[in-house]
């Protein structure tokens, strides 16, 4: 491999957008926690961002073809790790998803998301037909299905769900046939009651309280209500930095993490939301652009896998904050506090960068 990768080839626009979103996150984490026992969280988040950025650059130097080559091994490593976490993992906040590395707790499933992006890219890149055959669709489904079930076991419905858009977007770009899509949707609808049967009580509660928020004024319905109050009371101009009462008095649940958009919307108002969602839109569109300019299908699938994952995170998290979707515990990429999640996003961006850097290389 020739080392012709110059700094000019990096997507500086993408980096700027990512940096801006990280800045919003750090500002809001500071605002949400500075007066509480959690003070200092923003510096830890900055640390994660710096580590993430370094990992991103390192990751971008390694040719993605080399990474794709190792996809089967990565897949096995992922499955083993998920199984291990079920057996040896640490139980925190009611779910067994954590393993300790260097004194920090990491969520294995975040790493698995990255692995699945790579595995799916490899899989779809090897499909030579213009139309995706049913056989291949089922194979792809099984590839995703195994880790999905393991993640559901933790239980972590949110992360498990993120695997779905990766599969859907990948299949779509690989030439998914409409009749197959219709059939899958139909079967999915039939499976809904079965899925309901296997859901944990707290998950059922989240869904019912989403459908009937008035019946649950204290559980997750309460959380969503408080979030909506925060968002709505922010108005167009917002209450100002550090002035959100819902935020500062602790009415917003996990205001520094999953509900950080709620805290941001309260203090910065609709204008702030416009800025934040504008940045996310720019990020996602920039990712799609990178996919369009990828040198080969494999690169395109990698970038779109990342786009699907991040886009799904943004959609589900923000919709939850405004009460348009049930509470699933999916963080907002780059804004929510969290080590594993932040590292995942930076590594994913690193993959994208990797693809971009090699678009002119033979």
């Amino acid at each position: 491999m020739k080392d012709t990768l110059g700094t000019r080839d990096y997507d500086w626009w993408l980096i700027a957008i990512v940096a801006a979103i990280c800045a919003l996150g750090v500002i809001e984490i500071y605002s949400a926690t500075h007066g509480s026992a959690l003070a200092g969280m923003h510096t830890r988040q900055i640390r994660w961002i710096v580590i993430g950025a370094v990992l991103m650059f390192i990751f971008s130097r390694l040719d993605y073809h080399v990474i794709l080559d190792q996809a089967p091994i990565l897949y096995i490593v992922g499955i083993v790790a998920l199984t291990a976490v079920l057996i040896f993992g640490h139980r925190r906040f009611g779910a067994q998803r954590w393993i300790p590395i260097l004194g920090e707790f990491f969520q294995v499933s975040e790493l698995v998301k990255l692995i699945i992006i790579i595995v799916l890219a490899r899989f779809f890149a090897e499909v030579r037909t213009d139309e995706l055959s049913l056989q291949d669709l089922i194979k792809a489904g099984l590839l995703v299905g195994v880790p999905l079930v393991l993640i559901l076991k933790q239980p972590d419905l949110g992360t498990a769900l993120v695997l779905m858009p990766m599969l859907i977007v990948g299949a779509f770009l690989a030439g998914l046939q409409w009749k197959h899509a219709a059939a899958v949707v139909f079967i999915g609808l039939l499976m809904l009651p079965v899925g309901w049967h296997f859901m944990k009580p707290y998950q059922k509660e989240r869904v019912t309280s989403f459908l009937h928020p008035e019946e649950d004024a204290k559980g997750s319905g309460y959380q969503v209500l408080q979030s909506k109050i925060a968002v709505g009371s922010g108005g167009f101009w917002g209450k100002g930095f550090g002035n959100g009462t819902q935020n500062q008095l602790g009415y917003i649940p996990v205001r520094y993490s999953d509900f950080i958009m709620s805290a941001w919307a309260e203090e910065q108002g609709f204008k702030g939301v416009l800025l934040a969602l504008g940045l996310y839109m720019a990020l996602l569109l920039r990712l799609v652009q990178n996919a369009q300019r990828a040198k080969d299908r494999a690169g395109m699938f990698l970038v779109m896998g990342v786009t699907a994952a991040l886009g799904f995170h943004v959609l589900v998290n923000v919709a939850m904050v405004i009460g348009a979707m049930p509470v699933t515990g999916i963080p907002l990429p780059l804004m929510s506090y969290g080590g594993s999640a932040t590292l995942f996003v930076f590594l994913a961006i690193g993959l994208v960068m990797n693809v971009r850097l090699r678009r002119f290389v033979n």
């Binding site: 108005g235 609709f270 799609v288 943004v314």
Partner: protein, 645 residues
């Protein structure tokens, strides 16, 4: 490196472009969602955020005190703490309930029941789970602020009454407002408020009750107070000064002791009530917090009726006290003429039936005129008078003098008593009046009924020459109702002479209660609840009586009139009630003489007033005499003035 990916650059550009549109579409939808919340519904959520943030904690205003006529405290307050349970966080409540019940010494089941009962109230409204916090409770709450942030203490003012039911039926008591009171209060009362339930507490509730203040504090999501907003101070209720003289009240309370009965002392010249006692009396301190169901039931089912205010609500046959009404009616109507005499052989036969005089079997009164009939309380004389007057003339004068109607005292639920007449018996029993019944009524038996207050009021009015002043307990009441009944000077003279003779003449029925140096007049009465014959048949000995005594001094234009009744006694009124009345009149004169003699003692009083806080003159509220009960006394034009704002 394998070459599985080589030379495959067929990118699905159309589908990639579609992905871009999907992204734009999703972000636009999300922004619309924010627009709805932050722009369209912003005001609604702004209010909800404010309601979250701010908690209003009431500051309870103390009720006004009650002072006696000399400024001595009769009813007071003391500070106390109620324990409030914050119910916002239901999960935390159910989790901590056993610990709370244990820590405060409450029954867990009762607590749970209370929570169920208050489910309809808004969740942000705390409920009182323990009205009277002990020092141990306070320590418990303070030490568990961090792990049980659900308890708050609310400073309240509890009523303190003098012990032993002192003046309890006049003062009344306070309690938590009933549903009915809340509904009729036009929003002034809220559930859990305290208000006067009976007596003066109820009558002057609007004056006594203050305006609660409000402390608005900022609370965080776990209900901890983190800051303060404005504070609206409580406005204390007004202090009221009563006409009651604590010294006389003490004599009255002691005089009744554990007997069942009532005493009321009035100043007939002003209508001021000087003493007001009804026994048995509950101790209102027991109601100041919360009455248990059992206690309430016990009080209601007690055959001695401790909740009955006998001064204004006991409607009893007046017995021989009624002879004063008869004498006044006779002299005024001249039927029979004033020189009428009757012969008393110890009994009389009217309409074919024998009616005994009270001396029957022991002696006889012989020939009696009006004066000796009063002095010696001859029944036969008044049988004859009654027979000649007829029931309607008796009723006319009795009503004119104030019987059969409420006196208009400033207390709730006064009873009017009953003056029978032909019209009444027709209306209620649908038959004609039996003339024989008139004979019983003539000596205050039969269906005539009076309250002790009416006896004092009517006798005081007659002795004052027909000037009737509305009895009242609020000192410096500006709108005291009065009525004047045209009585001949000779009538008043003869009647009061007769009553003077009862105590001061040989043969008088009240000689035992004579007072040296005081023109003490009176009349005893013994209303039979059961005839001697019936009582002995039932093995009750001498029979059951209501023993009355009404006394006043001096003879003309008296300063004090006292009516007393002791129920269910085997004694005569002169024996049971006479000494109590005498002691009160004596105490009144003793105090009066002491005041006029020793200026030093008198000079002490104003100082004591100042020690008690504000000058009662400055704070004395306007009298509010309950308008609907003063209908006979207060002209309609004054009713509006009397109504509280």
């Amino acid at each position: 490196m394998s070459y599985w990916f080589r030379n495959d650059n067929r990118l699905p550009q159309v589908r990639l472009a579609a992905a871009s549109y999907v992204i734009v579409g999703i972000i636009t939808l999300l922004l619309l969602g924010f627009w709805k919340l932050q722009v369209i519904d912003s005001d609604k959520y702004g209010v909800m955020a404010e309601r979250n943030r701010v908690r209003s904690i009431p500051i309870i205003a103390p009720r006004g005190r009650m002072l006696d006529r000399d400024g001595r405290v009769l009813v007071d307050n003391y500070p106390s703490f109620s324990v409030l349970l914050l119910r916002d966080d239901e999960a935390a409540v159910s989790k901590n309930l056993p610990a709370i019940a244990d820590g405060l010494g409450l029954s867990l089941d009762d607590l749970k029941e209370q929570l169920v009962n208050t489910q309809a109230l808004p969740k942000f409204q705390p409920i009182v789970i323990k009205p009277e916090a002990t020092p141990a409770d306070v320590a418990f709450i303070e030490s568990h602020r961090a792990d049980i942030p659900l308890l708050e203490m609310l400073m309240v003012h509890r009523r303190r009454y003098l012990p032993g039911g002192f003046m309890a039926h006049a003062s009344g008591y306070v309690g938590e407002v009933s549903e009915e009171q809340i509904e009729s209060s036009n929003g002034k009362f809220r559930p859990g408020d305290f208000a006067g339930k009976t007596g003066l507490e109820r009558q002057y509730n609007d004056l006594l009750v203050g305006t609660d203040g409000m402390r608005r504090v900022i609370v965080n999501s776990v209900g901890k107070e983190v800051g303060r907003l404005e504070q609206q101070e409580a406005i204390p209720g007004k202090q009221i000064q009563l006409t009651i003289d604590k010294d006389l009240q003490e004599v009255a309370e002691a005089g009744l002791g554990d007997k069942k009965g009532a005493i009321v002392a009035l100043n007939p010249q002003t209508g001021e009530v000087l003493a007001f006692a009804s026994h048995p009396a509950p101790d209102p301190n027991d109601f100041a917090i919360r009455v248990s169901k059992e206690e309430w039931q016990r009080l209601n089912e007690d055959p001695a009726h401790p909740l009955l205010n006998r001064v204004t609500q006991a409607q009893l046959a007046p017995g021989s006290v009624f002879k004063i009404i008869m004498a006044t009616a006779m002299l005024e109507s001249k039927v029979p003429p004033e020189n009428f005499t009757a012969f008393c052989p110890g009994f009389g036969v009217f309409y074919g039936q024998m009616h005994k005089c009270w001396v029957y079997g022991k002696s006889a009164h012989g020939s009696v005129n009006l004066h000796s009939a009063i002095v010696r309380s001859c029944d036969v004389f008044f049988y004859n008078v009654g027979m000649r007057m007829g029931i309607d003339r008796i009723a006319k004068y009795a009503k004119m003098l104030g019987l059969g109607a409420r006196s208009g005292i400033d207390l709730p639920s006064e009873e009017p008593g009953l003056v029978p007449s032909e019209e009444w018996v027709q209306r209620v029993y649908h038959h004609k009046w039996y003339p024989g019944s008139t004979i019983s009524v003539s000596i205050g038996q039969g269906s005539v009924m009076v309250t002790p207050l009416q006896v004092a009021y009517v006798i005081g009015g007659i002795a004052s020459g027909g000037d009737f002043k509305q009895p009242h307990l609020l000192k410096d009441a500006p709108n005291v109702g009065e009525k004047h009944v045209e009585l001949a000077e000779d009538t008043v003279e003869q009647v009061t002479q007769g009553m003077y003779g009862v105590i001061n003449e040989a043969g008088g029925t009240g000689q035992a209660v004579k007072l040296q140096g005081i023109e003490f007049c009176g009349k005893s009465g013994t209303a039979q609840l059961m005839s001697y014959g019936a009582a002995s048949r039932l093995g009750l000995g001498k029979g059951k009586n209501d023993g009355w005594f009404v006394g006043f001094a001096p003879r003309r234009n008296p300063e004090i009139v006292v009516a007393a009744v002791v129920e269910d006694t085997s004694e005569h009124g002169g024996t049971t009630s006479g000494p109590v009345v005498r002691d009160i009149v004596k105490a009144y004169y003793d105090k009066k003489n002491k005041k006029t003699q020793g200026q030093v003692t008198a000079g002490n009083q104003p100082q004591q007033l100042q020690k008690n806080g504000a000058s009662p003159a400055a704070e004395a509220p306007k009298a509010i005499l309950k308008p609907e009960e003063t209908a006979e006394v207060v002209p309609p034009s004054e009713k509006k003035k009397a109504r509280p704002e």
